[in-house]
Amino acid sequence: MTAVAEAKIRKRVLPTPVTGQEIVLVGVLVVLWAALAVSTPAFLTAGSIQPLLVATAPIALVGVAMTIVIITGGIDVSVGGAIMVCSVLTAKALVGSEVSLGVAVLLSVAAGGLLGLVNGVLIAYGRVHAIIITFGTANLFMFLGLQIFGSGTVNGIPGTLAFFGRGPDGRTLGVPHAFLITLLITAAAWWYLRHTAGGRHFFAIGGDPQAARLAGVRVQRRVLLAYVLTGLLVGMASCFVIAQGTSTLDQSVGAGKELAVIAAVVIGGTSIMGGRGSVLGTLLGALLVQSVASGVTQLGWRSQLSDLFVGIFIIVAVGADLLRARARRNR
């Protein structure tokens, strides 16, 4: 084998830094934003873009972890319930004990990590399909959340978490902190998944868990880590959720978020079968979904209509991916 051919093969070991899906998504986003800017002049103003970024943050952040879980061939449909537990726990702590910003974040992240640990242990060591276990724990988490809620809502939440919120306290140089943190974590995850052995192990597990095990990957530990990571980021995202709301938290918090997160991941080009995916795509997917929601409202259409577009985007995004895969096979 010649040196050139060897160099070529070595180059191909890593996927391209940016996938085709991501380039397409950037294109779609540009077109969408341009169209919205033309039809509603108010769209491309700071007053409209900043809330859009703030609203994207929790979905994208949980999406980063969900991407890793899905890369391993799993899925976590309990994140909605987990968001409920973390946010009500933190909100109660804020109201009852008036904890500081740092303590609130730590509490929320720790609680999330614990919930993730439950999922991870059951899935990695119980050897049961992830979707079934997380359907089960979703119910358990919701029970837990509602129990902490007691009766009704949590009222009078102080503005401690305004650092992550929509207001002027929530941004530096016009960039919302929540989005900035999401961006940093996404970048870190991108580097981790692409350039470390540990990150590549997730792809190996998703590709073929048996082969990964024989190649020396500690499959169970890696899988456990993926779900714990999800829990930790759910904890962080819950702080964003509290900060975005008013001073009241009601029992619908987190409901349906698991599907929104999975939608963002899937639109971002991550294969639900495992072994292939990217966190950048997930961030773009979340941004696209939120842009559509924001655009639909600003155009004065029914807000529920945005769900129709989410459905269509999923079909188009995954359909394009399927067609590309078919073209690759036939070449």
Partner: protein, 355 residues
């Protein structure tokens, strides 16, 4: 096979009972139902419940079993078809088909039979979209039905400007969900909700006939177990899988009619409010012994699992005051599902699978 026949004589009775309970899901569910019902009867006798838990109450609570069992059967069909088969959109189909039924029967004044037929047909059409995406284009089922879940849910809300339809004919439909006395020996047993006979039993029998007595059923099990082998044996894999989603949509359409009757109103969020109807339906299917990997599952398992959950929920509702009960129902559902899943894992390792 040989291992089992060799081992059998040496087995002591306790080990045999354990093996039967673990490998025969029907036996396990039957035992669990007896335990649940006995527990609540004892609690009732001790006066710990807020209202009597008796046969009348158990019979009346069967009204909740109708949509649950029917959607569980719908999930049975799609999960059986294999390749990660699952349908997240059944709740959204219930919402959207329910609105169509509301228009047809409540607004346009179609005769009832025609409206029901149209609704079931519309549900089948929505299911056909799922089936086409999954079977012919090759979408993973989770993704295709997630997408259609969003789309149908959105359409159901937008179609009538978020408003429910509850005109006079729709309100009169509430009579569909009343309890009736059975003929002949009716005075000796509790009254049973009418929907059991008009919707649930026909559906369950039809699905059972389809799976156990037609060549389509054999094909479905075959493609769910190993679709590559099925293709090489010359089975129409795509067509078979496609139809599983169509049937699931059809059943969801019928559930839409039941739901409209129960609420006496066609609500745009009927099947998706709260946790929606899809998650409980999948839970029921899994609890009933349907393997998420496809090819394994029976109607009787789904029906027994429904009875277990419905009677468990009914009892929990009486054991707690206020909305605590509905919260503990979540706990029970989650715990039962995790328990069943872990049990499946254990059974697979110890006995090489359940039936």
């Amino acid at each position: 096979m040989t291992a089992a026949t060799v081992k059998a004589p040496a087995e002591n009775p306790a080990a045999k009972i354990l093996r039967v309970l673990l490998t025969q899901r029907i036996a396990l569910l039957a035992v669990l139902i007896v335990i649940v019902v006995a527990t609540f009867f004892i609690n009732d006798a001790g006066g710990y419940l807020t209202a009597p838990y008796d046969f009348d109450y158990m019979s009346a609570s069967l009204i909740n079993a109708i949509p649950l069992a029917m959607l569980g059967l719908a999930e049975l069909l799609v999960i059986l078809s294999g390749r990660g088969g699952i349908d997240l959109s059944v709740g959204a189909i219930v919402s959207l088909a329910g609105m169509v039924f509301g228009f047809a029967y409540g607004e346009w004044g179609w005769p009832l039979w025609l409206a029901i037929l149209a609704t079931a047909g519309f549900g089948a059409l929505l299911g056909a979209v799922n089936g086409f995406l999954v079977s012919y284009i090759g979408f993973p089922a989770l993704i295709a039905t997630l997408a259609t879940f969003y789309a149908y849910k959105s359409l159901a809300i937008v179609i009538n400007n978020q408003q429910p339809i509850s005109t006079e004919p729709i309100q009169d439909l509430f009579s569909l969900s009343k309890s009736v006395e059975l003929p002949l020996f009716g005075q000796y047993v509790p009254d049973v909700p009418l929907g059991i006979f008009t919707f649930l039993l026909p559906t369950a029998v039809a699905v059972w006939l389809l799976l156990a007595r037609t060549s389509y059923g054999r094909r479905l099990y075959a493609i769910g177990t190993n679709d590559v082998a099925a293709r090489w044996s010359g089975l129409p894999v795509r067509d078979t899988r496609f139809k599983a989603y169509v049937y699931a949509g059809l059943i969801s359409g019928l559930v839409a009619v039941v739901t409209v009757g129960q609420f006496a109103s066609a609500r745009p969020d009927a099947g998706v409010s709260g946790n929606g109807m899809a998650l409980p339906a999948i839970t029921i299917a899994v609890l009933g012994g349907v393997a998420i990997t496809g090819g394994i599952g029976r109607v009787s398992g789904v029906v027994l699992a429904t009875l277990l959950i419905v009677w468990l929920n009914a009892g929990i509702l009486l054991a707690f005051v206020g909305n605590e009960g509905s919260q503990y129902q979540l706990l029970a559902l989650g715990a039962v599902l995790v328990f069943a899943a872990l049990l499946n894992g254990l059974t697979n390792r110890k006995y090489g699978g359940s039936q």
